[in-house]
């Protein structure tokens, strides 16, 4: 694979880390994080935490004021079949979102989603 494409991969979150092909979005879900409140956010990087702490919601309006939310997006590479999950933690504030943390799990740690 060309060096140029490898460099471009840095700026494309939906490119496969194995073969650098463009991945397709297979599913996404919004979650509330009842343990995480505004002013008391604690950063977590282990998939185990997210498996336990997330509560699925249908829309942003269901998340109580001052509670953090989390968006999970799963990608699948059509070329090599590799799967990756993007975890985006944010604080919904009226119509805006304050992004707190974005994580990628591409070793299969987040393939089973909390429900």
């Amino acid at each position: 694979m060309g060096l140029f494409r490898r460099m471009r991969h840095i700026f494309h979150e939906d490119w496969c880390s194995e073969c650098l092909a463009e991945m397709e979005l297979t599913r996404k879900q919004l979650y509330a994080m009842p343990e995480q409140r505004v002013g008391h956010y604690i950063s977590h990087e282990d998939a185990e935490y997210y498996q336990k702490a997330l509560v699925p919601v249908r829309k942003k309006a269901e998340i109580p004021t001052g509670t953090y939310a989390c968006g999970l997006i799963e990608y699948r590479c059509p070329a090599c079949g590799h799967r990756a999950v993007k975890v985006s933690v944010f604080l919904p504030v009226r119509e805006e979102e304050k992004v707190e943390q974005v994580l990628y799990f591409d070793h299969g740690e987040m393939l089973t989603w909390p429900n």
Binding site: T65, V93, R94, E96
Partner: protein
């Protein structure tokens, strides 16, 4: 547990003591230093100046935090349930959703905790401090306000000496905190 005393944001004796007592200490130590041999005298003057500075910059606030902690403990012992506590620079607001009450402890009057029924609060709202137009639009203060006993209380959730864009992390966090507290106050008011 409700108190009927008139709300007093500033206890002038406490405020005066906070300003004057360190000055008296500083002058006293300097005068004492003058009466003592040179090196010990200089040491006393430095201790006097340092002590006063320490009080104004650090110990005064520590003392307030300690007094506030004691007041909150006293409230809890009397059956007050602190469901939401917000510590701002000027006051501390505690919401009890169970008994539908609100407690207020002021920075310059920490010796008293004023407890009122949440339904006594009116005009509860958020002020995002939005100002300016176009690319200059922003805010340097986010707060929530309410009126109790005819007195307007403003509790800041964010303050800065510069203006921040309305979508900046600081402003969004301030708005979220203010929204949360307004929601808690409204819920407590509706409980009764």
């Amino acid at each position: 547990m409700e108190t009927s005393e008139k709300l007093q944001k500033i206890n002038f004796l406490y405020l005066l003591l906070n300003i004057v007592a360190p000055v008296v200490f500083m002058i006293g130590m300097t005068v004492l230093g003058l009466a003592l041999p040179q090196q010990i005298g200089v040491f006393f003057s430095i201790v006097g100046f340092g002590g006063a500075m320490l009080w104004w910059c650090f110990l005064g606030h520590k003392f307030y935090e300690k007094t506030r902690g004691a007041q909150i403990r006293k409230l809890e012992e009397s059956g007050f349930v602190p469901n939401h506590t917000f510590n701002a620079d000027g006051c501390t607001l505690i919401v009890d959703l169970v008994n539908a009450q609100v407690a207020l402890i002021f920075r310059w009057n920490p010796g008293k905790a004023y407890v009122r029924p949440a339904s006594a609060l009116s005009n509860v709202r958020v002020d995002d401090g939005r100002g300016g137009a176009g690319f200059l639009e922003g805010s340097s203060r986010v707060s929530f306000l309410f009126t109790v006993d005819g007195m307007n209380i403003r509790v800041n959730t964010f303050t800065s000496n510069k203006r921040w864009r309305m979508d900046s992390d600081y402003i969004l966090t301030g708005i979220s905190k203010a929204d949360t507290m307004v929601e808690a106050l409204t819920a407590a008011g509706a409980n009764k």
